[in-house]
Symmetry: C2
């Protein structure tokens, strides 16, 4: 029969992290609960949606937790409801006591709330991932890789493999991360400080976005372990499991062009705001595109919606070289690509009106290591 | 053919105020537009949803507007879309020029956006309200009256008159404001500084909430005018019209009890948080109530949901007098009532388990001038 007391705020904060894996309306009802396991050394909270599982550990040694364990055990509690109840408690500490099988009392100040739980045995077992030979990455580097690629993954299930981000380690230290929805692509390469075992996996982009929310900036490094169809990201107190996508990822290297007829350097945010204006009107057109014209060193953007109106805009450039060109594309792809670029200037290289164009940061150290591709739309 | 230039931020801010009256999906399509009327002295923006109409005036004398009018005229523009376009413009000033009938060009920096509008003659005429003999109120006092009563109005159309707030001026200076949804009631009385003509009107609570958003705190006073079925709130640059509700408002004075068997003084926020905890579990019960027990000077709250669990809580009091009592009610009504009370302590007076109880601020100057009523729920 469980019995412990704990600091309410730290408990709540940890519950909220665990809850990121818990979906309110899961097809498997038991997955809407949080599993609480109390042992002498601390408390483990587990949440899962079948794709992602998060295990959080609160140690009795954590001073912020003020955790006192009197008696151990396991129970399942409806996650959303339990969190609402905990956050409503009046005092800064709470006492959690199992009074009979699967029934607990929370006491805090003069408030006493009895809740019914479920038998912990009903909770599915999380598949174990062998934790030897970790790949160790700085959290900020991994989150950066995710930010720069995951948005380009597909949101449609028609080709499930494209909903993931392809992570490949070759030569024990060359890490390539790439995502594409077949209309645009984003690829980032880095060289690891320490060698690791080569791997080739596709991680669901949705899981990666949750990873970025769960692993806050105060967690400096993360250990990564692979099993057959799973990956485990581990920090001191968090185990974050996600399933991998099965199937082979398309060969994206061959898509990246190397010869161009036309190169323009823009101010990243000026170009982005121009595209946002263009998008307001392109949304009202049939093919949803903006037309970019490069003519005699001047670049301009045009949208013409017969119903709503027109945009015509000259866009400032840092430099223009090559032949004249007119090319049409979906401005949303360019806006999202530009959002991923932190460099003040961006270099865009074109081949022709029907071939994909590339974007790379025009300053900083990334250069060609961070390359994006956008496919134009043929108009008329 | 309209032609003016203006500061983008001020124009945008004023458009956003006007838009509060504009519904994106109005049954009358023309009401999704904003009407822009340009005259020598300034620009008038009009939005309406048929219930509320807002007229905003931007004067050429307003230094923040930087308004230069070259040519006057009127046009209708799709409000949401136009506001999005204006907010996307790159420069701090914009030029607005009608280039042909109902077609305008916005120029800002190097961006040039052409938009199609509609003929201003299609816009319905706003019924005029004679502006003589205004009632003048401080905006903060009026907003306070609204905050303290409008939430208690009904949100259901089954008795339309109860969706409004009853404003009655008697003896030229006694203003009474009252709202009820038949389960609870809130009434606030004030004495005006200046005499006015007596009136008796019911204003839709939804209009009053918009009023509070439109009349910001920097607007010190508001003039009020009445017509048959309309009311006009006027400040220097804003005319806010709303329809009145027709029909006679029920006599609420007779509902307010004056003799009690039991009076308890609580700390307002302690009681509110206790009720918020109770509500978490009462939501899962059949009748959704919390039971308050007053026994030998101790007050406690109880909820018992067979499925989810129980709450038992002793609530601290400042003073308790009278007989023992057990009473059940919907905690949401008490929570909302307590939110409207700014005083640190609240005095609640009971008659019996089946008669409404009253709440008044236990400190400050309001006292009985701000009284609320909540009807209990009979259990078993």
């Amino acid at each position: 029969m469980i019995h412990f007391s704990i600091n309410k705020n730290l408990f709540l904060q940890t519950l909220n992290v665990t809850k990121r894996a818990i979906s309110h309306k899961n097809a498997i009802p038991i997955l809407s609960t949080v599993k609480i396991t109390v042992e002498e050394e601390g408390i483990t909270l587990i949440g899962s949606n079948g794709q992602i599982s998060i295990e959080n550990f609160i140690s009795i040694k954590d001073e912020n937790a003020g955790l006192l364990v009197s008696s151990s055990g396991s129970i399942l509690l409806e996650a959303t409801f339990f969190i609402n109840v905990v956050s409503s408690l009046p005092d800064i500490t709470l006492e959690f006591k199992e009074i009979e099988q699967n029934q607990i009392v929370l006491t805090s100040g003069k408030s006493e709330i009895t809740l019914k739980g479920k038998d912990a045995d009903q909770y599915p077992r999380i598949q174990e991932v062998p934790t030897s030979n970790p790949l160790i990455l700085e959290t900020s580097i991994l989150k950066n890789l995710i930010n720069q690629t995951a948005f380009a993954a597909s949101s449609q299930e028609s080709r499930p493999i494209l909903t993931g981000v392809h992570f490949v380690l070759t030569n024990h230290k060359e890490l390539k991360t790439v995502a594409t929805d077949s209309h645009r692509m984003s690829q980032k390469k880095i060289t690891l400080d320490k060698n690791g075992d080569n791997f080739d996996v596709v991680i669901p982009s949705r899981s990666l976005r949750e990873f970025s929310s769960v692993f806050t900036d105060d967690i400096e490094t993360v250990e990564i372990f692979f099993a057959n169809n799973q990956i485990l990201f581990r920090s001191e107190n968090i185990n974050f499991y996600t399933r991998l996508l099965e199937g082979s990822y398309p060969d994206t290297d061959r898509l990246i062009p190397s010869e161009f007829t036309n190169v323009v350097t823009f101010n990243t945010s000026d170009l982005r705001f121009a595209m946002e204006r263009a998008r307001l009107l392109s949304n009202a057109t049939q093919n949803g595109t903006v037309k970019l014209e490069i003519e005699k060193g001047l670049v301009s953007a045009h949208v013409n919606s017969p119903e709503v109106g027109r945009v015509n805009e000259e866009i400032e450039t840092e430099s223009v070289s090559g032949e004249d060109l007119t090319i049409s594309f979906n401005p949303t792809y360019l806006i999202e690509a530009l959002k991923a670029i932190t460099s003040e200037q961006v270099r865009i290289s074109f081949i022709s009106a029907v071939r994909p164009f590339t974007l790379v940061p025009a300053e900083g150290q990334e250069g060609e290591d961070f390359i994006q591709l956008i496919t134009p739309v043929r108009t008329n």
